[in-house]
């Protein structure tokens, strides 16, 4: 891996940049320039939009942290395309199934990422897809069971290139 790091090139290469380095650098600078400036938040901090959306979703019910597997990479190099998968333990029968699952972001300009509405015929409360992240943050998946109970799962992702366009 050391060999491929552009910062550790042999000294005779001097200050010349390859065309690829230059294009890559300028593309990202351009994207960064057009992004609105987000207020810098410390790790673990949550936007007020998130708090609002979370309160609206849960109301006076408090989710228990169990039965939800929320998988995301620990480190996402590109915030534009971060793979995720969620699976909620449930028999998915008419008597006992997962009604819906919502993914909330604590650091994106808009807190809700997606809401999945299931039915017993979904067979399994498991989904995967790809999402955008503006910066390093926590994500929460809140699942509502047909009984009205809420369960949740949390994941933290470190984002290297803060969601170019996110």
């Amino acid at each position: 891996m050391i060999m491929s790091n552009p910062n550790l090139q042999p000294p005779e290469r001097g200050l010349t940049l390859s065309r690829r380095d230059l294009l890559g650098a300028s593309a990202c600078a351009a994207v960064a320039a057009v992004l609105p400036a987000y207020p810098a938040l410390a790790a673990g901090e949550r936007t007020s939009q998130f708090e609002e959306a979370y309160a609206k979703l849960t109301g006076d019910r408090k989710p228990t942290e169990r039965g939800v597997t929320f998988e995301l990479p620990e480190l996402a190099e590109n915030g534009n395309m971060v793979p995720f998968s969620i699976s909620v333990q449930s028999p998915m029968t008419d008597a006992d199934y997962v009604k819906q699952v919502t993914i909330l972001s604590t650091g994106n300009p808009q807190p809700v990422i997606a809401t999945f509405h299931f039915s017993p015929d979904s067979g399994r409360a498991q989904i995967s897809g790809r999402l955008r992240l503006a910066r390093t943050q926590d994500l929460i998946a809140v699942a509502e069971l047909n009984s009205g109970a809420l369960v949740s799962g949390t994941a933290n992702v470190k984002v290297t290139v803060g969601g170019c366009g996110g």
Partner: protein
Amino acid sequence: MAQTPTPKIRMPATAKAGEVVEVKTLISHEMESGNRKDKDGKAIPRKIINKFTAKFNGNELMTVDWFPAISANPYQSFFVRVPESGTFTFEWLDDDGAVYKAEQKVTVS
């Protein structure tokens, strides 16, 4: 838009009665978030697919609300139960009202 969004579906064409199978879907769409600005500083208007629906023989199995934080060219995989032979239909609803459709027949053996 450069081209009409094209949906792609991957799921088994045969299944046992009552079997739960995985469906993988992909559609080409730029999912413009509405947060970006062009080089003159003007906001680029939002244009995303905001709803996905999966049906079996006309009955709704699953719907998904998408927001701007879904990546361009949205990929999604999920599961469905196959009760009998029939047709699965999948629909994507665009912000501009357009609906993109795909379907897949599944035979119960």
